[in-house]
Symmetry: C2
Amino acid sequence: MIKPLILITNDDGISAPGIRTLIEITSDFAEVVVVAPDSPQSAKGHSITINDTLYINKISKENEAILEYTCSGTPVDAVKLAINEILKRKPDLCVSGINHGSNSSINVIYSGTMSAAVEGGIQGIPSIGFSLCDYNWNADFEPIKSFVKTIILEVLEKGLPENIVLNVNFPKLKEKDIKGIKVCRQAKAIWMEKFDKRKTPQGRDYYWLTGEFVNQDNGEDTDEWALANGYISLVPIQFDLTAHHAIQQLNNWNWNKISTKI
Amino acid sequence: MIKPLILITNDDGISAPGIRTLIEITSDFAEVVVVAPDSPQSAKGHSITINDTLYINKISKENEAILEYTCSGTPVDAVKLAINEILKRKPDLCVSGINHGSNSSINVIYSGTMSAAVEGGIQGIPSIGFSLCDYNWNADFEPIKSFVKTIILEVLEKGLPENIVLNVNFPKLKEKDIKGIKVCRQAKAIWMEKFDKRKTPQGRDYYWLTGEFVNQDNGEDTDEWALANGYISLVPIQFDLTAHHAIQQLNNWNWNKISTKI
């Protein structure tokens, strides 16, 4: 039997414990190819590199079963390079992560991890982004391993609904305290920015982007509620950004000063 | 009467003819503040700068009516810096563009122009991204000026539905040949990548990301159809990425091996 081919990527770089955990879990039952950015790419969103060159480096040795590559550029570049220049066939699954830190609610839109998964989805590959709500480089991934494996096996078996990508976030809990998986919607939340203004040694002002995460949504069907209450949140994400529900309302607007009626 | 305050940004940089056109149109009836990236930021998506410092430069002179700033970082950084560090009050409108090149269909997800507008929306500001389907730096924005003005005035008057941002694309046509505005959904389309593989003078392989845009959607309610048929496409965009329609289906999956029933 041919093993499923899994493409693994992330935004924290190839040596991050999170991606090593994904590799460990999947190499049991799948052919694994890793293509990850060669530098930290957190918060790079769906950025791609069009005004600069891209490089690929093969990291794994000749006799190693798992092929590993780093590439310059963003997580989305990594997925595009993997599919077009590295992989011999279309992968059966693309998994991104495990991110060191939450990608729940509005974080999904800034996240390199999730954008890599979304790019996999755009390319027609069932794709999942995994994140653990622990920003620590030495975060403990042990408690979530069995859940990650089950989710991956379930998606490999069933595929995913068309044009849907999964955003899976894990609470920072012991395995026995995790209550299970909850299918959720993205909570309405924002980052309240607070720029940290400093002066260079030469006296010029500069800024660090910092901020506070504010959840504005008390819904018990949200990812934030699930995570706060001991569940793993699983949000189906789409890349058709159309607000279909707003189309009719906008059609009633007074565009006719300039718009021919159709 | 207090003039409305409009924040203008883009991803092509402050000297691009597209943003100069927006400034010219809006400064007639609004107080205008421009905060734009100091380097080209096309295809930067919703990238933000968290691992590097950010700088702001005031460009306009003391006696000039329009305040202009450049900033290092991405278009989304520009919006965040504008709101938190530059503007004295929350703007009544955020407009991004006019982009030199299309941001229709799947391009919306890669676009720095659109991501800046989306960030405006996240921050609770009515926001519009404008793009002209002409990648030329010397593109002719004259034919679309009256349309841009009408759309801006309409949104200033009515606001926008909650959590909705407008993605407006203009066909490259003479004014008399533009048939009007059509409210659309995002067409299903992809970029078929084709990496241009080259060698450095030292003999190392590198790549340029190139590709071909492929529209996979013949729907006459799409932005691609509108643009191909002489209309201005106007797509309402949302930043709740949840695929709400997929939640029920995923709830029927076999998560119960690992998931407590709620």
